[in-house]
Symmetry: C2
Subunit: 164 residues, 2 copies
Amino acid sequence: MSVTQSFSGKRTAEIVGITYRQLDYWARTDLIKPSLTPATGSGSRRLYSYQDLLELKVVKSLLDAGLKLEAVRNAFGYLRTQLGEDVASANLVINGSRSVLARSGAELVDILQNGQGVLNVLPLAGVKQQVDAAIVQLYPTPQEAPEQEIVIEPSDVAPLRSVL
Amino acid sequence: MSVTQSFSGKRTAEIVGITYRQLDYWARTDLIKPSLTPATGSGSRRLYSYQDLLELKVVKSLLDAGLKLEAVRNAFGYLRTQLGEDVASANLVINGSRSVLARSGAELVDILQNGQGVLNVLPLAGVKQQVDAAIVQLYPTPQEAPEQEIVIEPSDVAPLRSVL
DNA sequence: AACGTTCATGACATGTTTGTAATTACCTAG
DNA sequence: CTAGGTAATTACAAACATGTCATGAACGTT
């Protein structure tokens, strides 16, 4: 019944491409906590969901782009309030402290022209793609395959389930 | 003959909207040094050009957007290698460590779709606009007016001279 | 030429994010 | 049930960007 794949802290870090220390720090400071199993004291183990991986990868991407962790925090706080939408191949657009999802290029250009200052744009499609690729490469079909959803749709617009 | 307006360190900081400490730090660490008169020891005075103001404002904008100073440094290093173009109402696009200038919305969308990860977009038109506004507001026509180029073209696409 | 103001500089303090290393708890195998 | 390995915790260190403060040099004015 548990369709959800679970990932340990270490694996999560490897898949997402961050250090364990970062994963740990982010969990402690409430940026992204493991949604399956939180840490319960020394020696306990965190368990991350596939969803978590995607979010973490978004964070990682933003960091790579030179964003300050604080800015990422703001973006996520704001973004979490509008989850649940259909985010197919949407683009995450961060305008200072606000975040929006732009679905088409047109919408994006529109946002750009009306917005003041800098806009940070992240195509979400690529995020899923990268996470999936990392999973199969690092952990090729664990021990369960016929039921899981670890399959990757190469380049086409794979719809991210419940957002993000 | 000197058509170029000059700005002291303090004024520069005020106009651009940064602290003097930042201006100082950036100058010392070679991010943006005063192109008119560099510091020559204690008691000397830095003199910034209008060009400098624009660049500084770009930095400020990027910082406000949550970019790390290091990322800004990269962007500028790369950007400086392609100055001298016609940058009318272009958009500065930072793709990780690379920077490009997108002239139209179409070009922008194109860059977006081909680029991996996050893109940081900054419409340059707004930058000039803001700097000019700050100048007139803080220092309404110093004591020389008939010759200087402190005039502002309100909202239209004012072409930034030699880029940026 | 003296003086007060301005400004570059240097020393120091701070917060944030991460690395490293040591410690401790959990889990599975024997 | 015990041993070992793995992973989470904790404590410490370090880098970066900036604020604060004190110092002294240069500028402009009288």
